[in-house]
């Protein structure tokens, strides 16, 4: 039994299953919902299976077509990829359950194939070790995300999606030009081979600039964040959850990999610039979030701020390595679960009250306790209060900053948390009070509430799992390999 379980090729299944599922949903819209839910569930199982294999045998490696790099394409998964895949699968399952209630009729038939293709793109992205192949996964993910944003139509969503599309295409092209320069400089598009061959040259510096800028644009790093709040806030709630939790993390993952494998030793101050922009994003995003009167816009600006934390890790990691990178990975994971939960909860409140104006939230804490609870727990993780996953991530980051005496960054980390506390409690405060304009509530299915709550509890639970998660993250030493060939 155990042998059969470990022999199943889970890794490639993570790509093929959602692709096949998406095609089935496209062909037969009548069974789209069931096919989608089954696929999301099987993907969770597959990640568990892959995790089992990785724990047993170490890093996962699959040479597609049997050729192997540099001629062929390799799939590769270590602890970092595994955690990203796990976050994708869990958020994906939660969002799928929520969506099965959220989308109805025609919209349901349109949502599922797009979402399953997005899931396939995310899984393929986290598994790929080939920078040209990563370009294709980026495009697949970007196009799917754009259409999902515009799914329900409407002026805001359409213009948000259009801006998002232009930004994501521009980012991809900049990235692709970087790929071209690296390929023509070193004769390979495989990350491990590039890591072994790379040395400073004008082409590498240009590639570093192009790829960092292109990916930062797709991530929405300050000051490239202009497209993010309109797109994330105007999309349907489950889509907002996917965008904020996963879609902005995927290009960050690529950037992280590129730095760890290729650019790390050649950074030449770019890390300081990224750190500075990250710090600016933390402050700007938090202040903007505090100023918003619409719940989903508040959450979208909060995403801008939380992305900033990931970049604060760059200058710290170049100096000290492991702790700061672990912090970034942990924050990425924690934010994925927490923000997905909060967007789903916001979707429930929106559906319940017919609006998402923060001052007019009418005693939702009594009338929609599970969703409000999910929002609060997610908020705890975003603020970084113990015992949440966000606390562990911020603590690790703070530790790295303190040990290097980077007082400016220490101040930013703490100030960002205080501001986050302010905007989360601003929402919760209104959740208790009676609004001046009462409204006719609309029922929210229990599945939609529980999906949000369970994701939020996951974000909290992550705080108790620090040592196993960090041990998992160490598999394959993703954070030690920088600049050294395989």
């Amino acid at each position: 039994m155990g042998a059969v379980f470990t022999d199943i090729p889970w890794g490639v299944g993570l790509i093929l299953l959602p692709l096949a599922g998406g095609m089935i949903c496209f062909l037969w819209p009548g069974i789209a919902k069931i096919a989608g839910l089954v696929t999301a569930f099987v993907v969770v199982l597959s990640v568990a299976g892959l995790g089992w294999q990785i724990l047993d045998d170490g890093v996962y490696h699959h040479t597609l077509g049997g050729w192997g790099a540099p001629l062929g394409i390799d799939l590769y998964a270590d602890g970092l990829s595994l955690l990203m895949l796990a976050a994708t699968a869990l958020v994906g399952l939660g969002v799928s359950v929520h969506s099965s209630g959220y989308f109805e009729g025609e919209y349901s038939a349109r949502f599922w194939p797009l979402w399953l293709f997005l899931l396939a793109a995310l899984n393929a992205l986290f598994l790929s070790a080939d920078i040209f192949n990563l370009y294709l996964t980026l495009e697949l993910m970007g196009l799917a995300a754009v259409v999902l944003t515009a799914l329900m139509g409407g002026r805001d969503a359409l213009s948000g999606a259009m801006r998002y599309l232009l930004v994501t295409l521009l980012g991809s092209l900049a990235y692709l030009l970087g790929v071209a320069l690296l390929f023509h400089n070193f004769g390979s598009v495989d990350m491990a081979i590039l890591a072994g061959r790379v040395e400073a040259s004008p082409a590498v510096r240009a590639a570093l600039g192009l790829m960092s800028a292109g990916l930062a644009l797709k991530i929405g790093l300050f000051p490239f964040h202009f497209w993010l709040p309109p797109a994330h806030a105007s999309a349907p709630a489950p889509v907002s959850a996917l965008l904020s939790a996963l879609v902005v993390k995927a290009p960050f993952y690529i950037l992280l990999r590129l730095w760890l494998e290729i650019f790390g030793p050649l950074s030449e101050g770019v890390d300081a610039l990224l750190g500075l922009l990250g710090a600016a994003a933390v402050l700007w995003g938090s202040v903007q979030a505090l100023r918003q009167t619409r719940l989903k816009l508040l959450l979208a600006y909060s995403t801008v701020a939380q992305i900033g934390y990931l970049f604060v890790a760059f200058p710290l990691a170049v100096a000290a390595g492991l702790t700061a990178w672990s912090a970034a990975a942990y924050l990425m994971l924690s934010h994925a679960l927490a923000k997905a939960a909060m967007f789903l909860a916001a979707g429930n409140l929106l559906r319940f009250g017919g609006h998402d104006r923060i001052p007019d939230l009418d005693r939702v804490v009594q009338r929609l306790p599970l969703s409000t609870g999910a929002f609060a727990l997610g908020g705890v993780a975003i603020v970084g209060l113990p015992p949440s996953g966000g606390f562990v991530g911020k603590w690790l980051l703070l530790e790295a900053a303190l040990s290097q005496g980077r007082w400016g960054l220490v101040a930013v980390i703490i100030l960002g948390s205080l501001l986050a506390a302010a905007y989360v409690f601003k929402v919760l405060g209104h959740a208790f009070t009676q609004a001046s304009t009462p409204h006719e509530p609309r029922a929210v299915p229990a599945s939609m509430e529980w999906a949000a709550l369970l994701l939020a509890m996951g974000a909290i639970l992550l705080g108790f799992l620090a040592s196993p998660v960090l041990a998992l993250l160490g598999i394959g030493d993703p954070f030690v390999a920088s600049g050294v060939g395989p």
Partner: protein, 102 residues
């Protein structure tokens, strides 16, 4: 000066020209054209520099990559044009609304 570098430089020129137009122009059709010109520039860099082999045959891998890229580009363009038309039908303008503080 070998042809590989000359064409690669033209590619860089196209990329920069497209980027400038993408930023400067407001009309969405023009922005979509700009993205396509940028893409052609990137493709030109990819293929042209593949001609630096000492043999007569250029490197086939970038050729395959560019064929892939061309198909991706037409997919993205089709989607962008549809989205643009939908936006025009909704708002009556083929431009993105200027960013306003909310």
């Amino acid at each position: 000066m070998s042809a590989a570098f000359a064409y690669a430089l033209v590619g860089v020129g196209l990329f920069s020209l497209g980027l400038y137009a993408l930023i400067v122009h407001a009309h969405l059709l023009r922005k979509i054209l700009a993205i396509n010109v940028m893409g052609s520039g990137v493709f030109l860099v990819l293929v042209a520099l593949g001609g630096r082999t000492r043999e007569a045959q250029p490197d086939a891998v970038p050729h395959a990559m560019v064929i892939t890229g061309i198909v991706v580009a037409v997919s993205a363009s089709a989607l962008a044009l549809t989205l643009m038309l939908k936006l025009v039908a909704e708002t009556g303008r083929a431009e993105l609304p200027t960013h306003r503080r909310e």
